[in-house]
C-alpha cells in the first residue's frame, strides 16, 4: 500500500497550480507580494516617478559648509553628501537591487540545481567530486570569499551579480541534491531507466519537474539573501560602482554622517530591510504551501 501511495504522490503533478490564490489568503504573504510589487513598479517606473536625475549633483543641494540638506519640500528625503536628491537615488537604487536579486540568484539557482541534480542522480565519481566541492565551499566564510572575489575582479553590476552567485549556489545545491537522491530511488524513475531512458532525459524530464516547488521556494528565499549580500558588499565599498545608486552604496557614501544626518543611512536601510523581508515572507509562505517537509533553515 505504502509503495503505491508513494508512487501516486511521485507521479502526480507538483502542486504548483493555484499558488497565487492560496498566497493572497495569507496576510503576511500578501504583504510581501504587495511590497515586492511596489518595488518592481518603482524600479520599472523610475524615470517617471523620480523627481530629479539621480546623478545630478545640485549646487544648491549642499549647505555653504558642504553639509547635506535635511528633508524638505524641494528634496523630499534630503540630499546626499555630494548634493544629489536622495529620493531619486533610492528609486533608481530599486533597479539595482532587483537586477542583482534576480540575476545573481538566478545564476545561483541554475548552478545549484545543476550540481544538485547531477550529483544526486549520477552518483559515483560525479557525486563525490561535486558534493566534496560544495562541502569545501560551505567551509568558506561567505562574505570573506565574496570580498576576495570582488577584489580580484573589478566590480561592475554584472561582476557583483556573478560574485554573489558564486557564493550563494552552495545551499541550494545541497537541498536539491538531497531531494534528487530520494527521487532517484523511486520506482517511477527506476522504471524509466529500465525502459532505456538516458540520464539527461531522466534528469530533465522526470526529476526536474518534481523539484520545481523546491526551486521556487528556495529561489524566493535566496533573493532575500542576495539582496542583503549585495547591500553588504556595496556598504563595504566593493559592490556596485558609483555613481550607479544601490541602497547599500548610498549607506556607504553617507555613513560618516549617520549622527548628524541619520535619514541618509536609515531610509535606504529600511528599503533594504523591506525588500529582504518581503522575499522572506513570500518564500516562507510558499514553503508552507508547496513543501510540507519543512526543512530547517541551515
Amino acid at each position: 500500500m505504502t509503495v503505491l501511495e508513494a508512487d501516486v504522490r511521485g507521479i502526480a503533478a507538483p502542486p504548483t497550480r493555484g499558488i497565487l490564490a492560496r498566497l493572497v489568503r495569507r496576510p503576511l504573504a500578501l504583504f510581501g507580494l504587495v511590497l515586492i510589487g511596489l518595488v518592481v513598479v518603482v524600479a520599472l517606473g523610475a524615470p517617471w516617478i523620480a523627481p530629479y536625475d539621480p546623478y545630478e549633483q545640485f549646487f544648491e543641494g549642499l549647505s555653504l559648509e558642504g553639509a547635506p540638506l535635511p528633508p524638505d519640500g524641494t528634496f523630499w528625503f534630503g540630499t546626499d553628501l555630494v548634493g544629489r536628491d536622495l529620493f531619486s537615488r533610492l528609486i533608481y537604487g530599486a533597479q539595482t537591487s532587483l537586477i542583482i536579486g534576480v540575476v545573481a540568484n538566478g545564476i545561483a539557482v541554475l548552478i545549484g540545481a545543476s550540481v544538485g541534480i547531477a550529483a544526486g542522480y549520477l552518483r559515483g565519481r560525479t557525486e563525490i567530486v561535486l558534493m566534496r566541492f560544495t562541502d569545501l565551499m560551505m567551509a568558506f566564510p561567505a562574505l570573506l570569499l565574496a570580498i576576495v572575489l570582488a577584489a580580484t575582479f573589478r566590480p561592475s553590476l554584472w561582476i557583483v551579480a556573478m560574485v554573489i552567485a558564486m557564493v550563494n549556489w552552495v545551499q541550494i545545491a545541497r537541498i536539491i541534491y538531497t531531494e534528487t537522491r530520494s527521487l532517484a530511488e523511486r520506482d517511477f524513475i527506476e522504471a524509466e531507466r529500465a525502459m532505456g531512458a538516458g540520464a539527461l532525459r531522466i534528469m530533465f524530464r522526470h526529476i526536474l519537474p518534481h523539484l520545481v516547488s523546491t526551486i521556487i521556494v528556495w529561489g524566493t528565499l535566496g533573493i532575500a539573501t542576495t539582496v542583503l549580500l549585495e547591500a553588504t558588499l556595496s556598504f563595504l565599498g566593493i559592490g556596485v560602482q558609483p555613481p550607479v545608486p544601490s541602497w547599500g552604496n548610498i549607506i556607504f557614501e553617507n555613513q560618516t554622517y549617520f549622527s548628524s544626518a541619520p535619514w541618509l543611512v536609515f531610509i535606504p536601510g529600511i528599503a533594504i530591510l523591506a525588500l529582504a523581508l518581503a522575499f522572506n515572507l513570500l518564500g516562507e509562505a510558499l514553503r508552507d504551501i508547496l513543501d510540507p517537509t519543512q526543512q530547517g533553515y541551515h
Partner: protein, 540 residues
C-alpha cells in the same frame, strides 16, 4: 631657502622663535598624555615604518644626524655636532655629539650611523626608504646585496664621511628622514625581524609597553642627550579608537590628542562647538591631491585635452564637499613648500574654454574614459564630483572604485589607468624640499612599469633641469635652486599631466591640559604633534 611658508605657519614659528628662549627653561618636565589612533601601529622600526601615524612616533624613539626646528621646515643639526660640505658638494662630513646613549645604555658612535644606513639599503631589510640613499657611492652594489655602502666611511668614533656619486642638494634632508635614524646593531640582531615591535633607539622616549591592537606606551628616556627634553614623562598611544569616539573622549577629558584629527562627519559641528573652538589648530600640510592623466593613453596624449580637464573641474565645489578642509590647488607643490609659485594662476575653472580646447583637439563630442579611485570614503564621492564636471564638457568617465593596491597596480601599467584621482594615496612630502614632488611621481624615473608616475609624463629636458637644480649644494645659492624648481613645476603645468585639485589642511585638536606653541600641533614634519616638545599644563 624657506621663505615661502604659509603665512600662518611662518607667523607661528616666528612667535615660537621669540617665545622659545624666554619660555623653554620655565617649562617643567613631567606629566603624561594619551594619544589615540584608529589603526594599529604596524612597526616602530625606522627602516620600515612609513605610515602617517608611526612616522613621528619613530622620531621620538630614534635620532638622526639632522632634524628640523620644531614647528617649522628649517633644517638643524640633531645628533650631529657639526658638518662640512666639500666644494664640489659630493662629500659630507659629520661630527657627532659625544656621550649620546642608546636606551640600552651603550654610547652611540659613527659605526652605528653607518650600520643603520647600510641596513636600510640592504635588500634583506625590505626597507621602503632604500631609494633615498641612491646618491651615496656604492648604492647600486649595496642594494644588489653586496654588503655595505662603499661611500660611507667611519673616520673615527665621532666622525663619519659620506661620499656621493653626484652632488645632492637634498642630502641633509635625507639625513633627517626616519630611514637615516640610528639603531643599535646588537639590539637589531637580538630581535631580528621583531625589532620593529621592540624598538631601541637613542630618542627622547623609550618604549616600555606594547599590547598588540590596544596600546603602546612611551616613557621619558632619563639619559637623553638633549637635556630638558622631552617635556612629558609618559605618552600612551591607544589604538583601535574610532575618530568619532576619540573626539567625544577628548571632550570628556579622557584623552589629549585624537591622532586621526576631526572626523569628516563631525567637522562642521566641531568647528562651531564653543568648547572645541579654542582647542583646534589649523595648519598647512605638505600634501597635494591631484588627478593624473596618462599621456600614453589617447586622447590624453593631446596636451589640449589635458588642459581642458584642468579647466573643467570645479575645485571650489570639491573643497566644499569636503567641508572646506582643503584649499584649491593650481600646481603640484603645496603652498607651504619652498618653491611654490605664488604668482602662478594655473588653469581657472572655465567650462566654455575647456569645451573649446576639446573641440580644437577634434573631440567636440567628447569621449569615454575611466577614472580610477580608491574605494574608501570620501574618495569615491570626490571622484563623482570630478566625474560630473567632466561630463559637463562631454567627457564620460566611468568610475573604477577599487582597493588601494589595485589602483596602484593599474597606475603602474602604461595602459592601465587613463585617469586616477590620487586621494588616499596622494603624495605627502617626505621632506620639505621641492625636489620631493618630482622624481618618482613626475620624472622619467617614475614612468616605468610598476612606478608611481601614473601620468607616465616624461620630459627629459625637465629631468635634466631637475638634476641640475639638485646639484646646487651651496646654501648661498639656495634661492637660485628654488627658482629653478619653481620653473620646473610651472613648465609641467603647461604640459598639464596632472589636474591639481586641492591641498589638504590639517586640523589638530588637543585637550586643555596639553600646552605648547600652536606650531607644535601642526608641525609639518612631526605629524600629528611634536611629541618631544609639547608639555602638560597640570605639572607646571
Amino acid at each position: 631657502m624657506k621663505q615661502l611658508l604659509l603665512s600662518c605657519v611662518a607667523g607661528a614659528s616666528f612667535a615660537l622663535a621669540l617665545g622659545a628662549t624666554a619660555a623653554a627653561d620655565d617649562i617643567k618636565q613631567g606629566g603624561s598624555m594619551i594619544v589615540t589612533y584608529k589603526d594599529d601601529v604596524s612597526t616602530l622600526d625606522p627602516a620600515i615604518g612609513y605610515d602617517w601615524q608611526n612616522w613621528s612616533m619613530i622620531k621620538s624613539l630614534f635620532d638622526g644626524l639632522m632634524d628640523y626646528e620644531p614647528g617649522t621646515t628649517v633644517l638643524r643639526k640633531d645628533i650631529a655636532e657639526d658638518y662640512t660640505i666639500s666644494d664640489d658638494g659630493q662629500t659630507f662630513t659629520f661630527t657627532l655629539r659625544k656621550g649620546i646613549k642608546f636606551h640600552n645604555g651603550r654610547e652611540l658612535t659613527a659605526e652605528d650611523v653607518k650600520y643603520s644606513i647600510d641596513r636600510v639599503v640592504n635588500p634583506e631589510t625590505q626597507s621602503p626608504g632604500a631609494g633615498f640613499f641612491a646618491s651615496i657611492k656604492g648604492f647600486d652594489e649595496a642594494s644588489g646585496g653586496a654588503g655595505g655602502l662603499s661611500g660611507i666611511t667611519v673616520v673615527d668614533p665621532y666622525t663619519i664621511k659620506f661620499e656621493l656619486s653626484r652632488p645632492d642638494a637634498t642630502f641633509l634632508h635625507v639625513m633627517a628622514l626616519n630611514f637615516a635614524h640610528v639603531v643599535p646593531k646588537e639590539e637589531v640582531e637580538k630581535y631580528g625581524a621583531d625589532f620593529g615591535k621592540n624598538p631601541v633607539g637613542s630618542g627622547a622616549f623609550q618604549m616600555t609597553e606594547w599590547t598588540l591592537g590596544q596600546r603602546v606606551v612611551f616613557e621619558r628616556f632619563k639619559d637623553y642627550w638633549n637635556t630638558g627634553l622631552p617635556k612629558l614623562d609618559q605618552i600612551t598611544f591607544e589604538v583601535g579608537q574610532e575618530p568619532v569616539v576619540a573626539l567625544l573622549r577628548l571632550q570628556n577629558g579622557e584623552i589629549d590628542i585624537p591622532g586621526d584629527g576631526i572626523p569628516p562627519a563631525k567637522f562642521i559641528e566641531a568647528m562651531e562647538d564653543p568648547t572645541l573652538k579654542d582647542l583646534i589648530i589649523q595648519g598647512g600640510q605638505l600634501h597635494t591631491g591631484y588627478v593624473t592623466m596618462n599621456v600614453k593613453i589617447p586622447p590624453f596624449d593631446n596636451v589640449k585635452v589635458r588642459q581642458a580637464v584642468n579647466m573643467a573641474i570645479n575645485k571650489d565645489r570639491i573643497v566644499r564637499i569636503i567641508n572646506g578642509r582643503a584649499v584649491p590647488a593650481n600646481q603640484p607643490l603645496p603652498p607651504s613648500m619652498p618653491g611654490y609659485a605664488k604668482d602662478y594662476q594655473g588653469y581657472a575653472y572655465d567650462v566654455d574654454k575647456a569645451k573649446a580646447l576639446l573641440a580644437e583637439a577634434g573631440l567636440a563630442d567628447g569621449f569615454e574614459t575611466e577614472l580610477f579611485v580608491m574605494n574608501t570614503d570620501p574618495q569615491p564621492r570626490i571622484a563623482q564630483a570630478i566625474q560630473q564636471d567632466l561630463a559637463a564638457i562631454g567627457i564620460k568617465a566611468s568610475i573604477q572604485s577599487l582597493a588601494q593596491a589595485n589602483v596602484i597596480a593599474a597606475g603602474g601599467e602604461p595602459d592601465g589607468a587613463p585617469m586616477i584621482w590620487s586621494g588616499g594615496m596622494a603624495w605627502i612630502a617626505d621632506f620639505p624640499d621641492p625636489s620631493n614632488f618630482y622624481g618618482p611621481i613626475l620624472g622619467c624615473g617614475g614612468a616605468v612599469q610598476g612606478g608611481w608616475n601614473w601620468s607616465w609624463y616624461c620630459n627629459e629636458e625637465l629631468d635634466r633641469k631637475a638634476a641640475e637644480a639638485d646639484s646646487i649644494v651651496d646654501p648661498a645659492r639656495a634661492g637660485e635652486r628654488e627658482a629653478m624648481w619653481r620653473d620646473i613645476y610651472v613648465k609641467i603645468m603647461e604640459d598639464a599631466p596632472w589636474a591639481p585639485i586641492f591641498n589638504e589642511e590639517r586640523f589638530s585638536v588637543r585637550s586643555t591640559r596639553i600646552g605648547g606653541d600652536d606650531a607644535l600641533f601642526v608641525d609639518p614634519v612631526h605629524i600629528p604633534v611634536h611629541y618631544d616638545q609639547v608639555y602638560a599644563k597640570d605639572v607646571q
